[in-house]
């Protein structure tokens, strides 16, 4: 699934008068405009989508932190953007932060901000990976991985 499957993103740029980049405005095939910086590709939209935020309001999200939707309804009064809703739909099944980014075609920095919002609103549950210290102390994990690989 990609962003183009979801409904038209709300134009949040009106809150950000200075956000207009010195780039070319290209009419995307997917019917919404994409700003492209000449050298950069689609650099701008992710920042606009998170209203310029680069840090999540809650949680630290590793690339392989697992995320699943809690099933709480995404009520309109929660003020979710279409991107938030896309993340919630994707996380019907447990999925890592990196996978969410890959499926939605967004940089992980953007996905982390969206996930922080969802965590604060109780819409997702997360499971963090082991720390390096925990790894050093857990033979069971290694043995399970070896068995799993052999069974492939």
């Amino acid at each position: 699934m990609t962003m183009s499957d979801s409904q038209e993103p709300e134009d949040v740029s009106r809150d950000l008068p200075d956000a207009e980049p010195e780039g070319v405005i290209v009419d995307g095939e997917e019917s919404h405009e994409r700003w492209l910086d000449e050298q950069a590709g689609p650099l701008v939209r992710p920042y606009v989508m998170t209203r310029g935020r680069t840090e999540p309001v809650r949680g630290t999200f590793d690339l392989i932190t697992m995320v699943v939707a809690t099933g709480l309804p995404a009520a309109p009064e929660l003020g979710l953007d279409p991107e938030h809703q896309a993340v919630v739909r994707l996380c019907e099944e447990p999925m890592s932060v990196a996978e969410i980014a890959g499926h939605l075609n967004l940089p992980t920095v953007t996905v982390r901000v969206l996930l922080g919002d969802l965590l604060a609103k109780g819409l997702i549950t997360v499971e963090d990976p082991q720390t390096e210290a925990e790894l050093a102390d857990d033979d069971d994990l290694y043995l399970a991985v070896i068995d799993g690989l052999k069974a492939l």
Partner: protein, 199 residues
């Protein structure tokens, strides 16, 4: 483990773990990841402005730093409780911050090498040695890599004796499985040896 989260259907939320696949340009990283993954490898494009410039407000949209860096990764569901991710490092080695993020918390790393361009894997070997990440070297069998060349590779890389070197074909599933099993065994052994002795 007891603190493991459950989803609303009462299923456990799996814990994820990862392995890094590194090596020079075009050495077969993405091929290896794809060969053993249950789905087509995914890719994310990261914006360099995020971390390299420390942008923290909307002024970021005007930043002139314009490069993106891509990483590929695949997924293997080990059991309901475990998911293993394989991360290919970005081809451009200068983006070390991405290597740090990919490598932090990894079980270990596979350094892919091509005997025709052996020096290409030196930066990866240096990186994991310096960081203390358990790694093995897998010589990808492009035309003409032969068993006896493993000795030459070992000499050229000047690896510690305990670092395994294996031959592989990144397009072959059994071969990739062997490489990964060799790595995880090696990583387990290495971590055990580093563990402080209990008194």
């Amino acid at each position: 483990m007891d603190s493991r989260r459950f989803d609303r259907r009462g299923r456990r939320l799996p814990k994820a773990t990862k392995i890094v696949v590194a090596g020079g340009f075009g050495v077969g990283k993405t091929t290896l990841v794809g060969t053993v993954s249950e789905t087509k490898p995914l890719r994310t494009e990261e914006l360099l402005t995020d971390k390299s410039v420390g942008v923290d407000d909307v002024e970021g949209v005007e930043a002139k730093s314009t490069t993106t860096v891509a990483m590929d990764f695949g997924r293997i569901t080990i059991k309901d409780e475990f998911v293993l991710y394989l991360f290919g490092t970005p081809g451009q080695e200068r983006f070390w911050f991405m290597w740090d993020e990919i490598t932090l918390g990894a079980l270990g790393a596979v350094v892919l090498a091509d005997t025709r361009r052996l020096a290409d894997c030196f930066p990866a070997v240096d990186y994991f040695e310096r960081r203390g990440t358990p790694f093995i070297v897998a010589v990808n069998c492009f035309e003409g890599a032969r068993r006896f060349q493993l000795d030459e590779v070992e000499m050229a890389l000047n690896l510690g004796e305990q670092v395994p070197i294996v031959l592989c074909d990144a397009r072959d599933k059994e071969s990739c499985k062997d490489v990964l099993v060799t790595l995880v065994r090696h990583a387990m052994k290495t971590r055990r040896e580093k563990r402080p002795v209990e008194v």
